[in-house]
């Protein structure tokens, strides 16, 4: 008889004792809390600073050096028209970008995913390559383009150099490669059968796109919109480069002007303006998060 070598018996895989389970959970939470403390402290300072005359560490200080000295004077800027003007400009850029990038990416992504046409492959690789160019490298070329656009009668006043429209246009263009690829990816994942069914049911190609396909990629559109909105809202380099003066400045440019003025910087004021700038983003996120998290289930089983 031959003997078969056996592996040493493993300990029976019984249930892990409750106390150890609990320990593990505490440990996990402890680790997570520890690792986010630096960010939390940052936010805490930001909020405290906006309502204090001075701060030392996280503590608001009054003139005598004791705790106190709360003030709303940092928020006085909300009564000035300059900030609302900057806010409006930021909003215009962001909204224009969301609409422009959303429309072009949703239609372009569909065409690239579903249709055959000459130059499709080249176009796809081309957009990827374009995405590799940073905006900084293109600033001078864009300047000439905007100057050229500005010379066009009538519309030149809206999309030329030193206009909010011109800035938005450039930002849309810079954002498109990413948007188109993102939406193409979403369309690639949809079944052909649904599209064929709609064609047979009597829909035109455009209607299929609008009524059948676009609703399936709503989570993608929401993600792209949120992303684009943030990019547009926080845009600094392009607006800073292609606008002069305060009339067309957006929020980040306005904020920067506060810091770089020759007078000593009032950091508590900067904090307040910074917090103010975040508010629309938070609101926007609240409105889109449901859509973002709600990925459609079902409808097609199997392949």
């Amino acid at each position: 008889m031959t003997t078969v070598e056996t592996a040493p018996p493993r300990p029976a895989a019984g249930p892990i004792p409750r106390s150890r389970q609990k320990m593990g959970r505490y440990f996990a939470y402890g680790f997570l809390i520890l690792s986010i403390i630096p960010i939390l402290v940052g936010y805490a300072w930001l909020i405290i600073a906006t309502v204090s005359a001075r701060t030392q560490g996280l503590l608001p200080k009054n003139a005598e050096g004791g705790i106190g000295g709360f003030t709303l004077s940092n928020w006085d800027f909300v009564f000035e028209s300059a900030i609302w003007n900057a806010m409006l400009n930021s909003l215009l850029i962001a909204v224009f970008m969301v609409i422009g990038v959303g429309l072009a990416s949703t239609s372009g992504g569909y065409a690239l995913s579903r249709m055959k046409f000459a130059g499709r492959k080249t176009f796809l690789t081309g957009t990827l390559v374009l995405h590799a160019f940073k905006a900084e490298m293109l600033l001078i070329a864009i300047f000439f383009v905007l100057r050229f656009l500005g010379d066009i009668p009538i519309i030149g006043g809206f999309i030329g150099f030193n206009t909010v429209g011109g800035v938005a246009l450039v930002m849309v263009a810079l954002e498109l490669p990413l948007g188109i690829w993102l939406m193409k990816g979403f369309f690639d994942n949809l079944s052909w059968d649904m599209e064929r069914a709609a064609l047979i049911d009597g829909a035109s190609r455009f209607r299929v796109w609008w009524q059948i396909m676009v609703p399936q990629v709503r989570p993608g559109i929401a993600a792209l919109s949120l992303f684009t909105f943030i990019v547009g809202w926080n845009a600094y380099l392009v607006p800073f480069t292609f606008t002069i003066g305060t009339k067309v400045a957006n929020m980040p440019v306005f904020l920067n002007q506060l810091i770089s003025d020759t007078a000593p910087v009032n950091w508590n004021l900067v904090a307040a303006v910074g917090l103010f700038q975040m508010i629309p983003l938070i609101i926007f996120f609240i409105f889109t998060q449901e859509l973002l998290l709600n990925i459609y289930a079902g409808g097609s089983k199997g392949t």
Binding site: S191, D193, M194, R196, A197, A198, L199, I200, D201, G202, A203, R207, I212, P215, Q216, Y296, A297, G298, G299, S300, K301, G302, T303
Partner: protein, 366 residues
Amino acid sequence: MRVELDNLTKSWDEVIGADSITLDIADGELVAFLGPSGCGKTTTLLMVAGIYKPTAGTISFDGQVVNEVAPKDRGIGMVFQSYALYPHMTVFGNISYPLRLQKLNKGVIKERVQTVADMMGIGDLLERKIAQLSGGQQQRVALGRALVKEPQLLLFDEPLSNLDARLRLTMRGEIKRLQEDLGITSIYVTHDQVEAMTMADRIAVMSKGVLQAYDVPEALYDRPKTLFVAAFVGNPPMNFFDVEVMRVNGDLRAKSDAIDLVIPHDRGEKAAAVDGKVIMGVRPEDVDVVDDASPAAEGLTLAGEAVVVEPLGREDLVGISINGVDLRVLVDKTRGVRVGDTITLVFNTSRAQFFDPETEASLLWA
């Protein structure tokens, strides 16, 4: 509606999806496209639907060439394997979609959707979202959506292959009954030959893009024109042996190292005329298992050893080796055949098939 396919061909660069398919479908007929995966069934169906443009050949409906007609103007309804329902719409939204595109009046739409939904047994699910339905219910919605516009031609692309075996059986019957009641010409794509045999008036057997045979189910089963059809149609499949058919004392005998069987003249004459080996086919049900060889079965009896026994319920499917030649037969359960048993087999050679090994064409029907 009468459908005619004439030399219908579809190819992409290198790949040939369908190769010169020619067939006609009579008004009210249900034709099955049967064949293994990748043989071009879906390709052909999508050309009929107008989704794929044929590379060559024509499609005619009632004598009119429709190659250039858009899918929506062909008067067709289609049911997909994946159901292809619109997940962002309710059941009502899905079924009513074709009618809404026709801009029919709201009341009419409501009435027609309700009628079709009741017919499909989903009349009380109209407000549900698609994701809240079982697979079987989704299938009914898909069928309802195809039927609601009262099409002239129904196209099915493996509509039941995602359902469990029991439901598939029920739906099979329902679709067939519905199709007969409504009298709609239908093309039914499947790779399940039982489905094709039970539902279709005629079956088009395809392989590698080529139409292999087009005939009524019994003819494909009893008179297969090619080796492929003989092998593909029938479950469990036909057994094949390499034999030489020769004349011995006025009798025809199929011989090989393991086999020696008497063949009736009306079956074997053409095979005997072939110089060298032919392929003989015998269906599992044409082989009987007996206790003892009777003298009447002289020349039709062979002995073998059971190597596999698969219980199918009423019968056992027994794999038998006759001196190294394998075949499968259906044996009554009460016999209690076990692996290793020696078994006496009587062949019903009056139903044997013969094929040319080179051309794979039948030596009886081709």
